[in-house]
C-alpha cells in the first residue's frame, strides 16, 4: 500500500483514513466572505480626524478669544489689581506690627516661663519682622514707581490733548475764515 492517498489522494484509499476524514469533515475550511465586527468598522475611523481638527480649531478659537479679552481688559485688571493691592497694603499697615501682635498674644496666652521659651519661635518672629519691613519698603517703592508712571502718563496726556485741541480750534478758525474751501460732512468711508 502506497502513501499516495495521503499525499494527493491518487492512491488506494485506506478505510481508516477515510473514516478519519469523515469525522473531521465538519472542521474543514469553507470559503465565505469576511465578516468585520461592527465595533471595528472603518466608518467611525473616517470621522475621527475631522472631529479632531474641529476640536483643535475650537480650542484655538477659545484660547485666542481669551487672550484677546485679557489683552483688552489688561488695563482695567492691572489697575484694579494694583488698587486692590494698595488697599491691601493700606490694610496691612493698619494691622498691628509684629511687636504689637506679640504683645497682644502675650496678653491672650499665658506667658511662657523662661524654661518653656522655644528658640525656633523667637527666630521665626525675627524673620517675620524682617519680612514685614522689607514688604513695607517694596510697597513704598512700588507706589513711588506707580506715581512716577502716572505723572509721566499725565504729561503725555496733556500734551496730546492740548495738541488735539489746538488743531481742532485751528481747523474751525480756518473753516470760518475760508468758507470757499470747506467741504463739510463728506462721507469717505
Amino acid at each position: 500500500m502506497s502513501d499516495n492517498y495521503l499525499w494527493d489522494k491518487s492512491g488506494e484509499p485506506d478505510p481508516l483514513i477515510e473514516e478519519l476524514e469523515r469525522e473531521l469533515s465538519s472542521l474543514r475550511y469553507q470559503p465565505r466572505p469576511l465578516k468585520i465586527p461592527a465595533a471595528h468598522g472603518f466608518g467611525r475611523r473616517r470621522f475621527f480626524a475631522p472631529t479632531l481638527a474641529l476640536a483643535a480649531t475650537i480650542v484655538i478659537a477659545l484660547v485666542a478669544a481669551t487672550w484677546t479679552m485679557l489683552k483688552t481688559d489688561k488695563g482695567d485688571t492691572s489697575d484694579n489689581a494694583s488698587a486692590h493691592n494698595s488697599s491691601q497694603h493700606t490694610q496691612s499697615t493698619a494691622i498691628p506690627s509684629p511687636h504689637e501682635t506679640s504683645q497682644q498674644d502675650s496678653v491672650k496666652e499665658p506667658a511662657p516661663t523662661p524654661k518653656e521659651e522655644r528658640p525656633e519661635l523667637v527666630y521665626s518672629s525675627a524673620i517675620n519682622k524682617r519680612r514685614s519691613v522689607r514688604g513695607r519698603q517694596s510697597d513704598s517703592v512700588l507706589r513711588i514707581r506707580q506715581r512716577r508712571e502716572a505723572e509721566i502718563a499725565k504729561d503725555q496726556l496733556m500734551t496730546a490733548l492740548r495738541l488735539a485741541s489746538t488743531k481742532l480750534n485751528l481747523a474751525q478758525k480756518r473753516a470760518q475764515g475760508t468758507p470757499s474751501v470747506i467741504r463739510n460732512q463728506h462721507k469717505s468711508g
Partner: protein, 187 residues
Amino acid sequence: MRTTAIKLFIFATLVLLISIGTTAQAQGGRVELSSLDRLTAKASQTVDVSIDERLIQTAAKVLSSKEPDEAKVKEIVNGLKGIYVRSFEFEKEGEYAAADVESIRSQLRGPGWTRVLNVTSKREGALEVYIMTDGSSIGGLAVLAADPTELTVVNLIGPVDLEKLRALEGSFGIPELEIESTKPKKK
C-alpha cells in the same frame, strides 16, 4: 482622509487668524502711524505720544477732580481707549512726501471713518478732521494737519466730546495759541 482633515484644520485656522487680525485692526479705529517714524530724523521737533487705555487710566488717577482744568481733562479722557499723536516740525519745506500723508489718509478712507472737515490752501496746506461713528456716538477722532513745514496726526480712540476737547485750549494757564496770527506771512 487625513489630507482632508489637515486641509480643514488649516482653513479653519486661517479663517480664525484673519478674523482676529481684522478685529484687532478695526478695533476702535486706531490709525497706524508707524509709517511716519522715518520723518523723526528729518524733523527739527517731534512729538510722539502713544497712550493706551491702561496708561490713560493711570494718568486719570493723578488728575484732581477738584482742580477745574484737571477735572475737564478727566471728563474728556473718561472712556477713551487710546491717544496717539505724531507731530513733526521741519526747518524747511518739502521734508515730507505726499505719500506720507497719503498713507494716513488712505486709512481714514476706510469703513467707519467720516471726514467732517477739510480745509485746504496752497499756503497753509491741508487740515482734515475725521470722526469714527459708533452708532449714534463718536467712537474715535483723527486730525490730519499737513502744513508745508509741519505734519501732525492726532488719533483719539473711544468716545470724544469735540466741544469739550476744543475748549481745552487755553486751560492750564497756557494761552490760546493763535497759530494763524503768529505765522509769518509770505509775500
